[in-house]
């Protein structure tokens, strides 16, 4: 079954009560001006946020910019984090919105990233998969990236995308259909 093959990395958003409390404590300290506390959060979550940005934008350089912008936005908007969802799902939402906005601006300018740029340490064996993903619209791209490469459940994705679980399932369904169509076209 494909579900078992899906990578479930450490990116699961479910935290234990202790981990959640610890994270809330760091957020509170950062909100009170303790920059060191936010740096801890940055180091902890940056691999996941960077990967979302990289897979959505297809460019390591753009992904670095987007990741920095996401964390800067999070730092400045800490007052808006209520703590009902995990800090990482809040970060995902900021990152996905930023990347979606960037992609739409690029599309308006006619700049389309056709293939991933590999910064020297990535495998090229998944070229066709990435080329297919880069051919999808931002909303569908984010659904596949969060589900297949960040290992989020539909519930986690709903928190990350700020929509209902039903909307997530619909978007994932459309993303898979579009991916299959595009994947087959590239084969031809």
């Amino acid at each position: 079954m494909l579900r078992q093959m899906r990578k479930t990395s450490e990116s699961m958003l479910e935290l234990t009560v202790g981990q959640h409390d610890e994270e809330l404590s760091l957020v509170r300290q950062a909100r009170d001006g303790e920059r060191a506390a936010f740096d801890v959060l940055f180091q902890r979550h940056k691999p996941f946020i960077y990967n979302v940005c990289y897979r959505m934008l297809g460019s390591a350089e753009d992904a670095v910019d987007a990741t920095q912008s996401a964390f800067i936005q999070a730092y400045r908007g800490l007052k808006g984090f209520r703590g009902d969802a995990s800090f990482r799902s809040w970060l995902y939402r900021i990152a996905v919105n930023l990347c979606t906005s960037t992609l739409r601006q690029q599309m308006r300018r006619g700049e389309v990233q056709l293939e991933m740029d590999y910064p020297g340490h990535e495998s090229r064996s998944d070229d066709r998969v990435w080329e297919t993903i880069l051919g999808l619209l931002p909303d569908l791209r984010s659904a596949l990236v969060l589900f297949y490469f960040q290992g989020l459940s539909c519930r986690d994705m709903a928190a990350a995308l700020g929509c209902s679980e039903g909307a997530v399932r619909t978007r994932l369904h459309r993303a898979r259909s579009a991916f299959k169509r595009k994947f087959k076209e590239l084969e031809a």
Binding site: R6, R35, Y50, I72, T132, D139, R174, R176, K182
Partner: protein, 239 residues
């Protein structure tokens, strides 16, 4: 379970997200249907590759440290409120003193939705649907033409008529990639609503759109259009 239903649930079947009973019914159908089996094989290949693809890229050194620029404090001077008051007064004066016809000019949305122009002979359409979308076309309700009632004789369903475009922009902000059209299928079927660009081919600029709507029996009807419209021809609401 028929082929149309199978096509709708194949992504979830291949991903193992279906209820066991429904999955078994689907598998039973697929084992006896060559076209559904072929479609399923395509999903197996595509979603299998997706699931196996490498997920975590190494974080580059540029992100070793997060640099947060200082926010500049907002300078407030006594002049700002005064100018704001003057500007508001000037706008009010213009609104009340300007000539009547000019005041009735409708305000167009700041970011009008994009509407693709589709050439009928180039459009690949799903059965029973046609898509002819003209930018900026508005059809008043009084001019709306209903599709002819069914006569009982089996014939291809007529194409839905374009009802209106871009009026949704008046009620809510639209994403810049949205295309707004509505179709009247006739009879009891309610008009469909917003459509979205499904994907854009970066090489040809062709746009694929997909819309889902429900007919009077609650069945989901997919309208899928593929056009050879170039992305740069997608314009605003005014021709």
């Amino acid at each position: 379970m028929n082929c149309r239903r199978i096509t709708k649930i194949l992504p979830e079947l291949v991903s193992g997200e279906l209820d066991e009973r429904i999955a078994q019914m689907a598998e039973d159908h697929i084992s006896g249907c060559a076209s559904c089996a072929a479609e399923r094989a395509e999903y197996d290949v595509a979603l299998g590759a997706l699931a196996r693809a490498n997920s975590m890229a190494e974080v580059p050194p540029a992100l070793d440290v997060l640099r947060i620029p200082e926010e500049r404090p907002v300078r407030r001077s006594w002049l700002q409120p005064a100018f704001a008051t003057l500007a508001a007064a000037a706008v009010l004066a213009l609104v009340f003193l300007m000539p009547q016809p000019f005041r009735r000019t409708p305000v167009t949305p700041a970011n009008p939705p994009r509407i693709a122009q589709v050439k009928p002979d180039q459009a690949k359409v799903a059965p029973n649907h046609a898509d002819i979308v003209q930018p900026g076309v508005k059809v008043a309700k009084s001019e709306r033409r209903r599709l002819p009632a069914k006569s009982g004789v089996s014939q291809p369903a007529p194409a839905p008529e374009l009802l209106y475009a871009d009026t949704v922009a008046e009620t809510k902000p639209l994403e810049s990639s949205a295309i707004v059209v509505a179709y009247d299928f006739g009879g009891d079927t309610p008009p469909s609503s917003a459509m979205e660009i499904e994907s854009t081919d970066p090489e040809t600029g062709s746009v694929s759109v997909c819309n889902y709507s429900r007919d009077s029996e609650g069945r989901e009807r997919v309208i899928e259009m593929t056009s050879n419209v170039r992305a740069d021809s997608i314009g605003g609401t005014q021709p």
